[in-house]
């Protein structure tokens, strides 16, 4: 209990004591209606010494770290980066971990990725391209370090987005390289799952690799990696939508017309957490022929895709509680505003939404594209 309280004090900057029990968090949470413990109820239960009740209910796992509660909390309490991970840490220490998540964490510890894939195959996606993507090991220095992160490196669908981004970089004649087999999970989900020791360990190992090479900045299309590198590693990092935006003048000259009605999904760790709203929109809007529509819930009020904070490995826990997953609600909303393409800012969104399209039967009507994929399409002529 003392350890939990100390962790809470540390992670919330002592603010956790200031909860006024207003319930903004619960009303804002995509799982508010299903969870036995909204963040407010968690705080109340901790105050009342009923932590075990929370842990036994599994509510600590029913959070996809979307930051909605935290961004709205009038007491400015770090719920997402504080209360939830602190409870999860306790749960981990007591051995109460959902199977899927436990496997992912062990894999990350052993292999540097959650898929139990060989680190040697981390640059497999690059081999599928018709040009060579240089590694830092060979090149030693480059202007840009492209970081695909685990999903972008191994996941069947996500690596398509990585390849698109690499192609755009090639077209832009950017001097870039990758870490290849030296790359390892940056650990944002690990941290949000309360595995602080593993996170520290990953960070230390990664920093060793980063320090070996010279590069001006990192570019990544994984919003969680972006968040970890920016706010925890303290590195110079651009989200790929910012990178595309920086090169927009050049890109504009090369764009061909596309005939899409596009809506843009604000990823939690791009928008709410890091305040990046305009750059991706400006990139999309500058493609000729694209009709841009907003989701009803956009910018800081956008709905979560459900993958964050380990959510992507918590599906079975979620299903125990939740009837309609947020991604399903989200694709219906896209339909409501008349979009035929959902453009995403984070690679994790793609499998989440594609899965949701199937469940809702909307897969014939709407497609999901990473912003780099959309840009590449405009460059290559639709």
């Amino acid at each position: 209990m003392d350890m939990l309280l100390n962790r809470l004090k540390e992670l919330t900057n002592n603010k956790y004591f200031q909860c006024i029990q207003c319930g903004t968090c619960g009303g804002s949470c995509p799982y508010g209606a299903y969870t036995p413990y909204t963040p407010r109820r968690m705080i109340l239960a901790i105050r009342l010494g009923m932590v075990e009740d929370i842990l036994n209910s599994n509510a600590q796992w029913l959070c996809t770290a979307c930051q909605t509660c935290t961004s709205r909390c009038p007491s400015r309490i770090q719920i997402t980066d504080g209360i939830i991970p602190a409870l999860r840490e306790k749960s981990l220490l007591e051995g109460k971990v959902p199977e899927e998540l436990s496997t992912a964490l062990i894999n990350i510890m052993r292999y540097g990725n959650p898929f139990k894939e060989s680190p040697m195959k981390r640059d497999g996606w690059a081999k599928e391209l018709d040009f060579e993507v240089p590694t830092m090991m060979k090149k030693k220095s480059a202007e840009v370090l492209l970081l695909p992160e685990c999903f972008g490196a191994y996941h069947r669908r996500c690596k398509q987005a990585t390849k698109a981004l690499a192609k755009v970089m090639k077209i832009l004649e950017v001097d870039f390289a990758i870490l290849g087999r030296e790359e390892r999970c940056t650990g944002d989900h690990v941290r949000l799952c309360g595995e602080f020791a593993l996170f520290e360990d990953l960070m230390e190992k990664n920093m060793k690799v980063f320090r070996k090479y010279e590069f001006k900045y990192i570019v990544t299309h994984d919003a969680h990696a972006f968040n970890a590198l920016k706010n925890f590693y303290g590195l110079n990092v651009l989200h790929h939508s910012q990178f595309l935006h920086d090169n927009l003048e050049k890109l504009k000259g090369m764009f061909n017309e596309l005939d899409y009605t596009v809506t843009y999904h604000d990823s939690c760790y791009l928008g709410r957490k890091n305040g990046i709203y305009e750059e991706p929109r400006e990139v999309i809007r500058s493609i000729p022929g694209v009709r841009f529509v907003e989701f009803k819930r956009n910018r800081e009020n956008a709905l979560c895709c459900g993958a964050g904070g380990g959510g992507i490995w918590l599906d079975s826990v979620m299903r125990e509680f939740v009837k309609v997953r947020p991604a399903e609600d989200r694709v219906r909303e896209a339909k409501e505003v008349g979009a035929d393409v959902i453009v995403t800012g984070c690679v994790l969104d793609i499998p989440m939404f594609e899965d949701a399209l199937k469940v809702t039967g909307l897969d014939g009507e709407i497609v999901v594209k990473d912003i780099a994929e959309l840009v590449l399409e405009a460059l290559e002529g639709g």
Binding site: Q21, C22, G23, G27, R297
Partner: protein, 660 residues
């Protein structure tokens, strides 16, 4: 030098710990001490008389009292010196109670420490000089800035006791926010019925000069002697001749009101020539230069001018600068409302069902734009949600509680229920019904069937998550989402109308006024009072007082009470006719001053200015504004500033004796 030293027992407070006899013997041996005595209570009449008698009999020229804190009795003993015809500043106090007897039980150490204080007081007082109290005359007129209920109340109290008042209001009419309400909590009496008689009194009182559509642009001087410049903006209608027939408005080129009415918060319309509301004071129309055809250089036959019998319309009005001299100023510029657009998820200005409370106040007002009807999207609402704490109690916006929103929300709930029979839901964090009759008012609302759901609204949305919600949204409703914290459930309530109970903010002109009057604010952004409990309507600037919401959120009863208090304080100042200026202030030796100006921004009371002296710029301290804090003296690199009662020599002597 002949110094008298007096050691007080303070009953047993001092004498039980400090050996007072030993102290007296110690004093007697000090250089320059002519008399030393101890007494049970030095502050008592016989105690003071002891000093007076000794001064006369022993020809004393300095006095030291070893007793309690100078904050308690320095004044008492200075008065005693005065009675014995000795300059009261040839006096020093040593605090041997709070600093010695109250902090230890060790008799030896307490006595040693007391001796050190006694000696340092003796050494210091030797260097004291005679200081003269100066007097300045006080101008008996008062300026009141802001004509809301606070400014109106203060003006009337002053005027009725014979004081000449200038009341400056920036809008075309006085009345402030209260003029917009239909009813007021907790009594539900009609706002206009209690306010308009007071507004008319302002108009009719010969002691009050009312300057509406005007703003203060410059203030110079100090307590008792302020010189104020006021800018009267052009009204284009002469107040002195207009007879309030309003034929001009009737005959304006614009047959129908077309422009959003400021007074109606934009939900009503007005013409370019208009009167904010029927009982406005002064009851004189105003022409808005932004919407008037003629003033925009467009064609217009100026029917208004044509039909005006007393010839009051004056298109050549250029405004004017007015200068007045006053002795005191009351700031009563009220508050602004939180801009609900800042909380995007509440959908203000996005959904036509979402209103702010003040808009609904206008809607409910029988002389307002809808004639008192509550109409949303063309029909009466059947279900209404009231969202408390919009912008208040929120660290991202305003941390403080705005104090009136709970009560006005309950008021609006009751009025809407009464007029429309709608279901009304209040979403609240805590119901703060703190005032007289307020809890009773809340209970009445509960009895009338108004629903209270404890939970701050998370969002207001038109995105349905199921078929039921879909059909509700299609009916034009929006969905209010909140956690009902008492039932541990998430509420999604489709409603026809949402009222946002926006909180209070410091008025936007406050920055300007603060600069002009050299005032300071508390962290919440409202004006700082001199002492939050014991001096709530004075400011850190002598002669300037505050009233109403400009000091912090409050309701009408509190605003009125504070207005009367500030008028009382202003009267107390004026009634004195003149004020004594503390001589323990700082002075600049202009010969030594290098003109660097470092001291000017450091002075917390803005008492220092640069003046021309023998052809060079030199600092000068206004003794009427100096509060004697000494910041300037300690910061002057040329050592040109001297604090009369804290000279370097005095402080040095004091320290040397303490360390000896």
């Amino acid at each position: 030098m002949r110094i008298g030293v007096y050691v007080c027992h303070c009953g047993r407070n001092i004498a039980d710990v400090v050996k007072v006899r030993e102290l007296v013997e110690f004093a007697k041996r000090l250089d320059g001490v002519a008399v030393a005595r101890d007494y049970k209570y030095m502050c008592s009449d016989p105690g003071q008389e002891l000093i007076v008698r000794d001064i006369k009999e022993h020809n004393l020229d300095r006095v030291v009292v070893c007793a309690c804190s100078p904050k308690m009795h320095e004044k008492t003993f200075r008065e005693a010196l005065k009675r014995a015809n000795l300059n009261p500043f040839l006096f020093q106090m040593a605090n041997i109670r709070e600093l010695c007897s109250w902090v230890t039980q060790d008799h030896e150490k307490a006595t040693e420490k007391a001796k050190a204080y006694l000696k340092s007081a003796v050494e210091r007082v030797k260097l004291h000089e005679e200081l003269e109290v100066r007097r300045v005359r006080i101008n008996p007129r008062v300026l009141v800035i802001g004509g809301g209920i606070a400014g109106i109340t203060a003006s009337l109290l002053l005027a009725n006791s014979g004081v000449k008042v200038y009341l400056v209001e920036k809008e075309p009419t006085i009345g402030g926010k209260m003029a917009k309400f239909d009813k007021t909590f907790p009594t539900l009496d009609c706002s206009a019925c209690i306010l308009t008689p007071k507004m008319n009194e302002i108009k009719d009182n010969p002691n009050i000069t009312l300057l509406t559509n005007s703003e203060v642009i410059d203030v110079k001087g100090y307590v008792g002697n302020f010189k104020v410049k006021i800018w009267r903006k052009p009204r284009y209608v002469r107040e002195d001749v207009c007879n309030s027939c309003f034929d001009c408005i009737e005959n304006c080129l614009f047959e129908k009101p077309e422009f959003p009415s400021e007074f109606d918060e934009g939900i009503g319309k007005r013409k370019p020539i208009y009167i904010p509301f029927p009982q406005a004071v002064p009851p004189v129309p105003i022409i808005d230069p932004n919407t008037c055809m003629w003033l925009n250089g467009k064609k217009c036959s100026r029917y208004c001018m044509e039909v005006c019998e007393p010839k009051a319309i004056n298109f050549d009005d250029r405004g004017e600068e007015i200068e007045v001299d006053v002795g005191a100023i009351i700031v009563a510029i009220g508050y602004d409302l939180f801009d609900a657009r800042k909380i995007e998820r509440y959908g203000y200005k996005k959904f036509s069902n979402v209103f702010t409370a003040i808009e609904v106040e206008r809607m409910l007002n029988s002389s307002g734009p809808t004639g008192g009807e509550v109409i949303v999207n063309g029909k009466r609402p059947e279900r209404v949600a009231i969202v408390h704490c919009v912008g208040s109690r929120d660290e991202g916006n305003r941390v403080y509680c705005s104090r009136v929103c709970c009560m006005y929300s309950i008021k609006l709930a009751r009025l809407i229920r009464e007029r429309t029979n709608a279901e009304v839901y209040n979403f609240y964090i805590d119901v703060r019904a703190f005032g007289k009759g307020y809890e009773e008012f809340y209970k009445k609302a509960l009895e009338e069937g108004i629903v209270f759901i404890r939970g701050k609204v998370a969002e207001i949305t038109d995105h349905p998550i199921n078929d039921y919600e879909k059909s509700e949204v299609e009916k034009g409703r929006v969905i209010v989402v909140a956690e009902s914290t008492l039932s541990n459930s998430i509420v999604r309530l489709p409603v026809d109308m949402v009222i946002l109970s926006v909180g209070m903010e410091p008025p936007k002109d406050l920055e300007k006024i603060k600069r002009l009057l050299k005032l300071s604010t508390t962290p919440d952004g409202f004006l700082a009072e001199r002492h939050p409990k014991l001096d709530p309507v004075s400011t850190t600037t002598e002669g300037i007082f505050i009233a109403g919401c400009v000091q912090g959120p409050k309701d009408i009863p509190d605003s009125v009470a504070q207005a009367k208090a500030s008028a009382g304080d202003a009267l107390t100042l004026i009634e004195r006719g003149e004020i004594e200026l503390e001589p323990s202030v700082s002075e600049v030796d202009k010969e030594k001053c290098s003109g660097c100006g470092i001291c000017v921004p450091l002075c917390p009371y803005h008492a220092i200015s640069m003046v021309r002296y023998n052809g060079r710029m030199r600092a000068e301290i206004n003794p009427a504004m100096c509060m004697g804090c000494g910041v300037c003296a300690s910061s002057c690199p040329s050592r040109a500033i001297k604090h009369n009662l804290y000279t370097t020599e005095q402080i040095r002597a004091e320290i040397r004796a303490l360390l000896a």
